[in-house]
Amino acid sequence: MWTWLVRDVIGWDLLGRLGGGVHFFLYDTVKIFLLLTGLMFLIGLLRASLDLDRARDFLQGRGLFAGLVLAVFLGVVTPFCSCSSIPLFIGFVAGGIPLSITLTFLVASPLVSEIAAIMIGDQFGWNVAAAYVIAGSFIALVIGWVFSRFHLERWVEEMVFATRIGRLRAGGHQPSWRERVDAAVAEARDIFTTVWKWVLAGVAMGAVIHGWLPEDFFATYAGPDNPFAVLVATLAGVPLYVNGAGVVPIAEALWAKGMSLGTVMALTMSAIALSIPQAIMLRRVLKPPLLALFFGSVIVGIVVIGYLFNAIFP
């Protein structure tokens, strides 16, 4: 349909820069919007069914490994924001869940973003999206295990331990399917209203890169031959404060121009997972040494994933 609109109605040559760019823009945004809305509805349904109190009860007294796995899963399906991550962190730690398990959640949550996974699946293929989720989960698991070897409690703000948590008295309420569907619809709508402008901006940037940068532009500097490319890309992503939905289309365009996949992934992940506002938010519950340790481990994790991807998808 877009081919027809751009080529036949407006009369642009699809191979020309402007025609190709506009075609790419229209086709991409519509596809992304449909995918995001549909899949965010399903994830919203899963989230509405998740009972955090029960998850906490389950975690109490389980072994370290089961705890780490569940923490990673929780982190993957939960968006990373001050409204969900910080109360959950306090609720878990004050509720007696080992700090390393709670930190694993805190690492997995920004490292594997569900919106980014959907966008990567659309733009890079679903095998790459699966590799992204698995690699991110694995890194979070390893970081959590390493953290469990040390006593990090002294670097958590006293406020967290001083909090006396009440049992949730509304906890007996089992959400009905109706309520879950309502919540999921609300979630998909929320995501859409916050994310659409990022998608438009990202795809537009991607279209510009697709249309104007010469073929193999990045192959020389950021191709598979440069061993430092992943490291530089990861650090370059930190000051970028962009939404996952905005950065993936740009990443795809960089990839099409010869940047190797691992380097592109490292840039994407660090742009999403690491940002200054996020550090300020975490500072409320973590003291500076642990905050630095947290950021450092996520950076190391992303660099490892970058090299791994370069090795797997040359």
């Binding site: 609720g91 406020m159 949730l168 959400p175």
Partner: protein, 79 residues
């Protein structure tokens, strides 16, 4: 009746506040509305998923935004 909206100020907390105000206006129940934005205090209520709705120190809703009609019912049951 004292109603507290628990939430650090995200979109859902504002939606819950809006729906609660609508419920109060529709049902004619008199209540004072307070915002609780402090993380420690929120966790103190046992709420791990914001937003939360607290009526006279009892958590009645957490982790979702109920419609005004449902809030009105919850409030009427405690009036």
């Amino acid at each position: 009746m004292i109603i507290k909206i628990l939430g650090p100020g995200c979109a859902n907390c504002h939606n819950l506040e809006k729906n609660t105000r609508a419920a109060l206006a529709d049902s004619g129940i008199e209540a004072t509305l307070e915002q609780v934005t402090d993380y420690g205090e929120i966790a103190g209520y046992g709420v791990m998923k914001t937003p939360g709705l607290v009526v006279d120190e009892e958590v009645v809703v957490s982790g979702r935004v109920p419609k005004p009609a449902e809030i009105a019912e919850l409030l009427a049951a405690r009036a």
